[in-house]
Amino acid sequence: MSEEDYTTKITREDACLNRTADDDEDDDEGEEITAQKVLEFLETAWTNEMCAPDILQHQSDMLELMMGQLAHMEENMKDLDKNDFRFVVHQMELERIRYVMASYLRCRLQKIETYTKHLLNEESTRSAEEKRLSPEETKFAQEYYENMEECFQQIALQYMPNTQRSEADQRIVRPNLMSHVFVKANVSVPAVVVGVDDEEVDLAAGSQHIIPYQLIADLIQKHQVQLI
């Protein structure tokens, strides 16, 4: 096949890819969204995660969707010449999206490694739909915790007097939820408590603020504000 053929092919497939996404939007279920929306969603989740002191709700579904999209795109590009203009541009975009996803997951892993026991404790009090960690992350956290405990035990704890052994609770690292973050309001949010003495302000849509995390944590969950 000539290069021209490949080009036509990817055009068709590309158009096809976009059409599927559009069709999905019209679905009765109203559950499916376009690839573009998924990407925007993930990028917001990524910046939120990077800026938040605590771990946020996991986005496995969105990641899954995007992974599928990437695989689909790669499948389309497979036959394309490496120097084709399309190939280069699509490849660049894929790399950018992969970076966002990888950076997002890395950021979460870092938090899990730092606050292992704290997160596990928190998770055990949450109901199934409120879980912040994905099943894979929970497994990782569990194993990481067990291995660390085992390691401490082997290296030091077993040689220590009994009285000092049972201080596991004191070793729990907790995030500082009152640490200050930069937020941007997506919509106007009336009467947000901003100070220790219950002072309230209205956040106008598009306005930016610096504020202790805990005071706006629930607004992030509701997508009313985002961290920047």
């Binding site: 590309d14 999209q69 203009f85 660049m92 009152m178 200050h180 100070g195 003495d197 306005s207 202790p212």
Partner: protein, 199 residues
């Protein structure tokens, strides 16, 4: 966030380029671009524009605000105003840096523009430092930061939130101590939060 992450985010902004080749529209995941017609301006994400320019496949159309008169005005306004003025672009520093380092020839009066943008940035930075000083002295926990761009925020990112966190910690300790000593009749100081940056 590292400066390179901020650049990465800034690279999503849209700029105009004039390609010297023709090509059908590209359906990227982040949205479609094109069609490319030689000599016809087309909007593309900054990252793509920079890539094409490096390949000598296009000329970059400088954003409207990269204009000496307009920037002079912004600079004067920034000097006059007590607060931060709205910048023409959310990522003006990133865009200016990327465009002018890759394609200095595409921007008329490039050197002058580079200087004036840096001037504006410096004015804003010094304003930011002064406000932060006032903010911390005022023992606030909350401030409004309208019109501050991402890069500017990150120029104070490590130090400002950290110092506020530390101050908050001291205050909590102080309150706790006060509770213990309140029976001795010591006065309690109140904490107030205020917005010094804008009102």
């Amino acid at each position: 966030m590292d400066p390179c992450v901020i650049e990465f985010i800034g690279e999503k902004s849209i700029i105009g380029v004039i390609p010297n080749f023709s090509f059908d529209p590209l359906h990227l995941i982040s949205g479609s671009v094109g069609p490319f017609r030689a000599g016809m301006p087309v909007h593309v994400p900054l990252w793509l524009g920079i890539h094409l320019r490096k390949q000598q496949k296009c000329r970059i159309v400088p954003p409207e605000w990269m204009d000496m008169d307009l920037l002079e005005e912004i600079k004067e306004e920034e000097k006059r105003s007590k607060f931060f003025t709205k910048m023409p672009s959310e990522h003006y520093m990133v865009e200016a840096q990327l465009i002018m380092s890759t394609a200095p020839d595409d921007v008329p009066r490039c050197e002058e523009i580079r200087t004036i943008i840096k001037d504006i940035f410096d004015i804003r930075e010094s304003k930011l430092r002064t406000s932060i000083d006032a903010f911390i002295r005022g023992e606030g926990t909350y401030a409004k930061l309208d019109n501050l761009t991402l890069l500017e925020m990150h120029s104070v990112r490590p130090i400002l939130p950290h110092s506020l966190d530390h101050i908050a910690r001291y205050q909590r300790t102080a309150v706790a101590t006060q509770r213990d000593t309140s029976m001795l009749g010591l006065n309690s100081s109140t904490m107030n939060s205020s917005s010094f940056l804008t009102q």
